[in-house]
Symmetry: C2
Subunit: 346 residues, 2 copies
């Protein structure tokens, strides 16, 4: 085979693990015939699953461990006590060059803590961020940080902007993605100081970033920019509000279609068209949050996802590796000049 | 008439003013026959509109001024230079007892600055907040602050919780509304310090508040609690993300219904049922953000709203006055004990 790509899989992470992880690997191998897996977990559980699944024998290897990180474990505890966990060994394999990236549906905080500790951040990055794609009026955009850093300073936000821009170029295939900083509208309170500092820096940066300026909440689903940059607190709330609102709308719709005989009939006729809406807003489609800014590719799948969602998360990791995301980020950061003096608050 | 209720209307505020304001008053008078209006604005413009509208002659009075606050005026400038503006005179009338509340679709920042300056905050309230109802899986909830205060300390958040709780009792008619503090999920970063302090205080308060604890973004549309308390930055982003996501979903739906002949036919059959979904998520239905914590009722209508939306904003003001919201808030605050020593961060 001319192309080989090995990924570490934390097979024990997630509500429906290890079944959904193994089935997800199977689906992913159908899509990406060049992908190989290192499956970390309890071999007594994994062996029979792998046998049932049509997982290519030549393209996977089980690495046994009977330890795993609990879904509710505190990150600091997991970091200290989980050195032989499936999650940790999967990350170690990336550091050791045995695999090009890791996918886990386990505890987010523990995964971030371990990944930071084992892989370290890229040169020029103070803190990694969590990024994800989301559906918009214009297609898809990327948002970061979605929860790794509750508080961010201007440096963090500028670094997120650079990483998000590279990501949008590499994975969304955009030539010159636009970047916006999430803020509030009213004049009186145009944002925290760190937002204004970051905006001043981005407006004057030597990097060829297409900085749009501030965007507001409705610009996010509106698709005003390709990359939405925010702190992890706001980003986490924003993502979950959007997911919850989609669910609310879909439940209103379901109620409406059941409210009369005509409506039921209408539903039957429009069913296949409506299925497309469901697919477009399916959270599984956007499963796979990327930890960006680390010396290695780390993808976090939603803990409650199924095999299809897990396969999509694997797809995200494949994309990031294939596009050499980290090399591109490294290159940008190497060229980033310090903030110009005029980047002081205007 | 046994019941009289006079409201000040800033007839010159909003994108479609003064037409939509006068038409909104007309709609509101049909719903609330006991409401009277003081209409502040340019009489040469208002006279013909009032004549065309079926506005009861005995139940409105035009107060002339040819000054108004521009939609993009800086709040501080508006406060200094806008002393004879329709917005300011409408607020002055509340202070002077000529009306029981004010409704404006004008500049939010200017309205808040003027209202704070003229009416002052209620005893025990450091900062007023912006509150609004929103649709949820369980019905309706109230969220505050939606943008008055970018940064909030624990005292502010506790005061918002008390005001929101009173509001939910008075206007939503709930006996014991539940209150949640908006936060992020992951263990590692359970929130800013002010959130933890506010939670500790609310858990131990002497007031009979049903404090649920922290909620996450998806709990907002999910309706997990009746009152969602957050800082103005997060609240503003949350509200606009939810509105934008509803729009996105509805545009996906529209596209689906036009995608095939069968889907179009299905739409025709289900049309009247689908109209209910549109009504339930219609932003006009939730128009009318309340400024709570002031010595007087102040309602801000969306700037781009139409007559129906403006009438709903008037309805919110009527509700707040009728239920004696401010007296109830005053009473609660008079009983609030200082934070117990055990409310230190655990």
């Amino acid at each position: 085979m001319s192309q080989r790509l090995v990924l570490s899989i934390d097979a024990m992470g997630g509500d429906n693990a290890p079944e959904m992880a193994i089935q997800g690997c199977e689906l992913a191998q159908e899509r990406f015939p060049f992908v190989e897996f290192l499956l970390f977990g309890d071999e007594t559980k994994l062996e029979p699953l792998v046998a049932t699944a049509r997982l290519d024998r030549a393209r996977h290897k089980i690495v046994h461990t009977d330890e795993f990180v609990a879904g509710d474990a505190k990150p600091a505890i997991a970091l200290r006590a989980g050195r032989k966990s499936s999650m940790r060994l999967a990350i170690d394999a990336v550091r050791d060059g045995a695999s090009s990236g890791v996918v886990s549906a386990g505890n987010t905080g523990a995964l971030m803590a371990m990944a930071k500790f084992v892989l370290k951040t890229l040169p020029g990055i103070d803190r990694p961020a969590i990024a994800s794609l989301f559906p918009t009026m214009r297609g898809e955009s990327v948002m970061l940080d979605l929860g790794a850093n509750v508080q961010c300073n201007a440096d963090n936000l500028v670094q997120f902007a650079i990483m998000g821009e590279v990501f949008a170029r590499a994975v969304l295939g955009l030539e010159r993605p636009s970047v916006g900083l999430l803020n509030v509208g009213s004049e009186e309170m145009k944002g925290h100081e760190e937002l204004r500092l970051a905006a001043a820096w981005l407006r004057n940066t030597n990097l060829p970033i297409l900085f749009h300026g501030f965007v507001e909440g409705d610009d996010v689903p509106g698709g005003t920019v390709d990359v939405v940059v925010t702190d992890g607190f706001t980003g986490n709330v924003a993502l979950k509000i959007a997911e919850g609102t989609s669910k609310l709308y879909s439940s209103f719709l379901k109620g409406a279609f059941q409210s009369s005989f005509l409506a039921k009939l209408g539903y039957v006729l429009a069913k296949s068209a409506l299925k497309k809406v469901r697919l477009r807003t399916d959270p599984r489609r956007y499963n796979g949050a990327m930890f960006v800014g680390l010396n290695g590719i780390v993808v976090k799948s939603h803990g409650g996802t199924d095999a299809l969602g897990f396969a999509n998360a694997i797809g995200v990791a494949v994309d990031m590796v294939t596009h050499g995301l980290n090399d591109k980020i490294r290159k940008e950061l190497a060229h980033l000049a310090p903030p110009p003096p005029e980047a002081a608050i205007g």
